[in-house]
Symmetry: C2
Subunit: 236 residues, 2 copies
DNA sequence: ACCTGAACACCGTTCAAGT
DNA sequence: ACCTGAACACCGTTCAAGT
């Protein structure tokens, strides 16, 4: 109903401010993503942030999907590509542990990264290096599959972490209650096992939760590296 | 504006039809999910399908999230739990390959399954058996982590397959073009590697695409089983 | 208890002009 | 070329009654 600016001096933006550019739109969208995730803002909010009408977004960048792709590309571009020459296992440990730090700051980008893959130019650049690292390590024809497997494993786990943070802040509590109900239940001794494993940690303290998440992420990366490592005959 | 029925005889549902129940709502939502995925229907469409006003959904089941949870629980309940007594590796191969068949019929459920985990009663029942299988195989305290890792690896991959089917029907073509541009590019020899791997397959034919997806899913399951297997000292 | 209408506060996207 | 207004066709959810 009312325009995007509030004092409504009508020509305020066009007179007092530089014209909006595509870069400014992506910049603002990236900031909104840092706050509420890639699905946490609307095109209308983004337009409001820049004090323009929604139509301007379409003019400079495109629809919501195009803006989201641009944000994802920017964020993935911040992932540091490890030094070439490192042993393949260490190269991927650095990429995947470092990548998580970047991606978790922009919820929803991990999911999009895995979905679109090397369609994002920044993801393509990383893949280029990673496949070479694996080829040099002796994976031969299997380098592409191994690369997809390793990055999928890790970044998909980041995507679930994002999902849980976004949708179910109380899910841990619900789960704890469910599992506690089966603790010492002889009919479901598998669940009792899980219950003991989950309850042992301080499930209340957010710091402890983060530590458990990080531990499971490291576990995931390690198991996946072990899994592809066996293709080389690495039986360490 | 107009009511949910079209002939608009106003009392049609209440006179000619049995009252709507929670089970009917979940049934209809499951059918809509089979058609367009878990995010592919709205509460208003669901109400329209049952020829009632949207408010009725809330009365019997709850909000959109509650309906989606109920659908996910129903779908996960259709996953066949393998025989106990199978070797652990074979038990998980059957669970994860069979689970994919069920989940792919209801796009979006895999993502929700991984996000909510054993909060879904049907997922809890499977976890109960799976953790026991791993404990009996000798994983001891590591059974819970191994269970989460194995099911995450597999079902998260199903979730991306769903995502790609839903959001980017033309993504394969875009990727093929991107990679083809770097084929035989000496500056990006890693990408050339990928290009050769991707182009080798008939990327046009949908049957070939499905076969490639299935092959990568089997690869993922195998590598993840290898990865946790190393924890047992399985160096086959 | 179950359902009807209608409303509230949003979406993404597009049309048709304006400067 | 860039931006304004306004509209179109949707959302999920809730209010206030009706039977």
């Amino acid at each position: 109903m009312t325009g995007p600016t509030e004092p409504r001096t009508r020509s305020r933006r066009s007179v007092e401010r530089p014209p909006v550019t595509a870069a400014m739109i992506v910049e603002a969208a990236t900031a909104l993503t840092a706050e509420g995730g890639l699905e946490g803002w609307s095109t209308r909010q983004l337009a409001g942030e820049l004090e323009v009408w929604p139509r301007v977004i379409y003019h400079h960048v495109g629809d919501r999907d195009a803006v989201a792709d641009a944000v994802a590309d920017r964020v993935v571009g911040r992932i540091r590509v490890p030094e070439p020459g490192l042993p393949w296992r260490q190269w991927f440990e650095e990429l995947l542990l470092g990548g998580r730090e970047v991606l978790r700051g922009y919820r929803g980008v991990a999911r999009r990264l895995v979905r679109t893959g090397p369609i994002l130019p920044s993801a393509l650049a990383i893949m280029d290096r990673g496949v070479l690292v694996l080829r040099d390590a002796g994976f031969a024809d299997g380098a592409t599959a191994a690369y997809r497997y390793l990055t999928n494993s890790a970044y998909l786990l980041v995507a679930v972490e994002d999902d849980r943070a976004e949708h179910l802040p109380d899910a841990r509590a619900r789960l704890a209650v469910t599992l506690a109900a089966h603790r010492d239940d002889p009919e479901h001794s598998g669940l009792a096992e899980v219950g003991r494993a989950v309850m042992g940690r301080g499930a209340d303290d957010p710091g402890a939760i983060r530590a458990v998440e990080e531990e499971f992420y490291a576990y995931t990366v390690a198991r996946s590296l072990d899994g592809v490592g066996m293709l080389l005959g690495d039986r360490a």
